[in-house]
Symmetry: C2
Subunit: 199 residues, 2 copies
């Protein structure tokens, strides 16, 4: 299959690429790296990417950011970082990308553990994660051409636990390699509307 | 207590007002009706409302809209209706309103059944509902002044089932009066971070 992996140079992205590269033709997209560039916060940039890439059998996104800030200090503007990136970046990738998906193609997005197991300052990220998960579950019933859509919700990663351990006290980090298996399940399996929680 | 009810003239809003009015001082906010006007899609309008209303013990929102459209026809622009209204309208009400809440005050937002039990064309609404629910769960752990935050997820209402029955096949509608009880639980109870599902 021909698979577009957005964020393919990140920690999770690289692990996904490792799992998929021997069996599929991969196109790696990134903001500054990869085979094609995209800024998911821009609808025009997403459209330009698909114009270049053309039709694919799978769209995977492993990118997206959010501002970590305690709710008592959070402004509406702080929250827009997650809205534009992790929430709308992913949903717009799905809305635009569906037109470039071949029959029975799949879309796989990324949420995260904070929506189920909150951490201090994580409410904006949680919001984006919760929005994506609910969109995925609902969108799955609307597709008519065998298109599937799922998301993967990773725990904090072993690879980045040093950086994030102060926020994720008591969490048991998971290796990116294990998280990547959930993307394989979404891309190569048959399920739709699911969130794979790798906690 | 002094409670601000945004959307207090809507079907759910009126039922909430009916349950709360004998025990509390209520301020009803609406886009065009009520004691004070607010457009939740505008941060400036929310700030202007709280400038007029001053400090309260509770903030309740029973308003918010979304565009219903099948995902295959949905554009990024269609989805912005729910983002601006049901998602950011409510989250900005919480972010701005927290500064006007007295100690141990509460915030109660509204989600909806579509995020758990999807209906055709409901993915944008589901996204907003899922985002609000996850925000509520995560925000609850950040507050330090006894501030609580919950949301209520109503099923389709008995009162509007005629209008919506084509989308909600097989759903068993609930009366607004029963939904209103969940807002009472949030306002007068002690729980926080909860979603009360009235299905």
């Amino acid at each position: 299959m021909r698979i577009l992996v957005v964020g393919g140079k990140g920690t999770i992205g690289q692990a996904i690429v490792e799992k998929l590269k021997d069996k599929h033709e991969l196109i790696i997209a990134g903001r500054t790296s990869g085979d094609v560039q995209v800024d998911l916060t821009s609808v025009a940039s997403i459209e330009a990417m698909f114009n270049k890439v053309g039709h694919v059998d799978g769209i995977v996104n492993a990118s997206g950011t959010a501002k970590f800030r305690l709710v008592e200090e959070m402004t509406p503007e702080d929250n827009l970082v997650a809205v534009q990136s992790k929430l709308l970046g992913q949903i717009n990738l799905a809305l635009i990308g569906q037109k470039y998906l071949r029959r029975n193609g799949s879309i796989t997005l990324t949420t995260g553990v904070m929506k189920d197991d909150p951490v201090p300052g994580g409410a904006s990220a949680a919001m984006a994660n919760g929005g994506v998960q609910a969109f995925v579950k609902a969108a799955a019933i609307d597709f008519t051409q065998g298109i599937r859509i799922n998301c993967v919700s990773p725990n904090v990663l072993v690879e980045s636990y040093d950086k994030y351990q102060n926020s994720f006290k008591g969490f048991v980090p998971v290796p990116a390699e294990r998280v990547a298996m959930a993307y394989v399940k979404s891309v190569e399996g048959k399920q739709t509307g699911q969130e794979y929680q790798v906690y």
